[in-house]
């Protein structure tokens, strides 16, 4: 067993910031694949990706709840919160990068790597030395320099053990105001209920839930509620069949699943604003999407800092982002051999949330004042 990399509340806070960044980092990549699919086609694939993306949003909320419960301050507008794609995952896994690509076998391969089961061979191998390949590692271990985690599951296991250890020494660890918690009245979706966190037990449940829904450390296909873990949801796309309860991980025996790799907009992989013709309408549309996304993250930051009812507004923002996504992916990107445009998720000025940041940042459409 390696020594814990978490010794204090501050350590926990930096880990939970990394956890929020990690949960978020997967969302643009899943959404890019999702919106690249021609509407009314590929319903199996679209459904699978959509469910996972929505559950990542739940995980983001759960990580925010744990962070709030120990007196931290969630900030989705902090510089670096949105990775520059292609990026390494913020938990430190460094054998693959996450990029923004259209729905394709390569995309599904990456999704499986993100969600892969990852129980380290032994407790002592949870932390491994990060390879020095010159690329920026986003967070890895926030406290142990040069170390990364074996998997997302092990990353969360480290946080849970850290919480147990710090809570044992500090009875006042869970000092966050209960009003900061996002409860099920503000967040609901198909896959799982949001857990409010007020003590070690609820924190453990929230974090275990995240890990189990992703892939689980126990490598089960289904979690305790009978939900298929994300890794196996994506494996279905590779294997062409749905899983049934009792299946061996390599041999799903459910109904066949049809995938049409051609009914997809061929997007430029991890497009950057620099790929857009300077000064073009299309560049303006891409910039507007980023500004809308920045405003959306500022709104979420406020929601996670005592205004959970703003999550209702966030739903409207998400629908607008959907429309912006669709508009971009249907436009050919000039000078890229017929590839199509896509959001770049480059957030221009990631600054702290001002009082009205969400209402005013970016966007050319505004509500008519009454």
């Amino acid at each position: 067993m390696t020594a814990s990399t978490i010794d204090s509340r501050d350590d926990l806070i930096s880990y939970l910031h990394a956890a929020m960044a990690l949960e978020h980092a997967t969302i643009p990549t899943y959404l890019t694949a999702y919106y690249s699919i021609h509407s009314a086609t590929n319903s199996d694939a679209a459904h699978i990706i959509r469910v996972v993306a929505v559950e990542e949003m739940l995980h983001l909320t759960l990580a925010a709840n744990v962070l709030n419960a120990i007196g931290g301050t969630p900030d989705l507008t902090a510089p670096g919160f949105v990775p520059s794609y292609p990026a390494y995952l913020p938990d430190g896994e460094d054998d693959f990068t996450v990029d923004l690509r259209p729905f394709s076998p390569e995309a599904v391969e990456t999704f499986c790597k993100i969600e892969r089961p990852g129980k380290a061979p032994s407790g002592s191998s949870r932390l491994v030395r990060a390879s020095d390949n010159g690329r920026p590692l986003l967070a890895a271990s926030p406290t142990a320099k040069g170390m990364r985690f074996y998997s997302i599951g092990e990353f969360y296991e480290e946080i849970i053990e850290g919480l147990e250890k710090v809570a044992a020494d500090d009875p006042g660890l869970f000092c966050g105001h209960p009003a900061l918690q996002v409860g099920p009245e503000y967040f609901y979706s198909g896959g799982g209920t949001v857990i409010t966190v007020s003590d070690l037990d609820s924190a453990r449940r929230a974090l275990r839930f995240i890990a189990a829904q992703g892939e689980g450390l126990d490598s089960g296909i289904h979690d305790a509620d009978g939900e298929l873990a994300h890794y196996y949801r994506f494996r279905q796309l590779q294997l062409g069949r749905y899983y049934q309860v009792g299946d061996h991980p390599d041999a799903p025996s459910g109904p066949p699943l049809s995938v049409s790799w051609d009914d997809v907009y061929r997007l430029k992989v991890s497009a950057r604003l620099a790929d857009y013709p300077a000064g073009s309408e299309l560049a303006g549309a891409a910039r507007k999407f980023n500004a809308d996304y920045e405003a959306f993250l500022a709104l979420l930051t406020k929601a996670f800092n005592g205004k959970p009812d703003l999550l209702q507004d966030a739903v409207w923002y998400m629908f607008r982002l959907r429309d912006g996504f669709n508009r971009l992916v249907r436009n050919p990107l000039p000078g890229s051999d017929g590839l199509h445009a896509a959001p770049t998720f480059e957030i221009p000025n990631a600054v702290g949330p001002g009082p009205d940041a969400a209402r005013t940042a970016g966007g050319t459409a505004q509500a008519v004042t009454r």
Binding site: S39, A40, W316, L328, R370
Partner: protein, 169 residues
């Protein structure tokens, strides 16, 4: 269908709808709309419409690729909208983009110009209703489709700045 005539149809549609090319392509339906106009009116009418539009742009051009909007407006009225054959088709192209529906041209038009299918009203695809420019123009969502989020209807419509400021003319 040549890619050149598609490009020309896009530019024509920009002038007719006052929406940007990015918005038009963003509906995902531009190719289907051109095909619809061709099916309804025939290639000859479409070619004449694109020719007239090119001529109108030339009338209003400054020779350096820019246009005087007032001149272009006048040239479009002169060369297209007041033309017995092209005017009704151009107005139908506007309606097609805004509503996603091809509205049947009157019998007088089909009797004279022959394209019988132009008289039939039809929707292009189920998506064309959702993608109608009507909805962004009035800051609303297509009822029953493309959900804007629960309760969003309690908010004022979101209208593009350029319309609020009365720009564009």
């Amino acid at each position: 269908m040549t890619s050149q005539s598609f490009e020309e149809f896009l530019v024509l549609s920009v002038d007719l709808t006052a929406f940007e090319e990015t918005d038009l392509l963003g509906t995902g339906l531009a190719h289907q709309y051109l095909a619809k106009v061709r099916d309804a009116c025939g290639d000859e009418v479409v070619t004449a419409l694109l020719d007239a539009h090119r001529a109108a742009r030339a009338d209003a051009g400054d020779g350096a690729g820019s246009h005087d909007r007032a001149l272009l407006d006048r040239a479009l009225r002169h060369r297209i909208f007041s033309d017995d054959r092209l005017g009704p088709v151009a107005r139908n192209v506007v309606k097609l983009w805004y509503s996603g529906t091809w509205y049947g041209l009157p019998p007088e038009w089909t009797d004279r110009y022959g394209a019988r299918t132009a008289a039939e009203t039809s929707t292009v695809t189920a998506a064309s209703y959702q993608e109608g420019l009507l909805w962004p123009a009035i800051g609303a969502n297509p009822p029953g489709a493309r959900a804007p989020g629960y309760g969003s209807w309690a908010q004022p419509p979101r209208i593009e700045d350029r319309y609020l400021r009365g720009e564009g003319k």
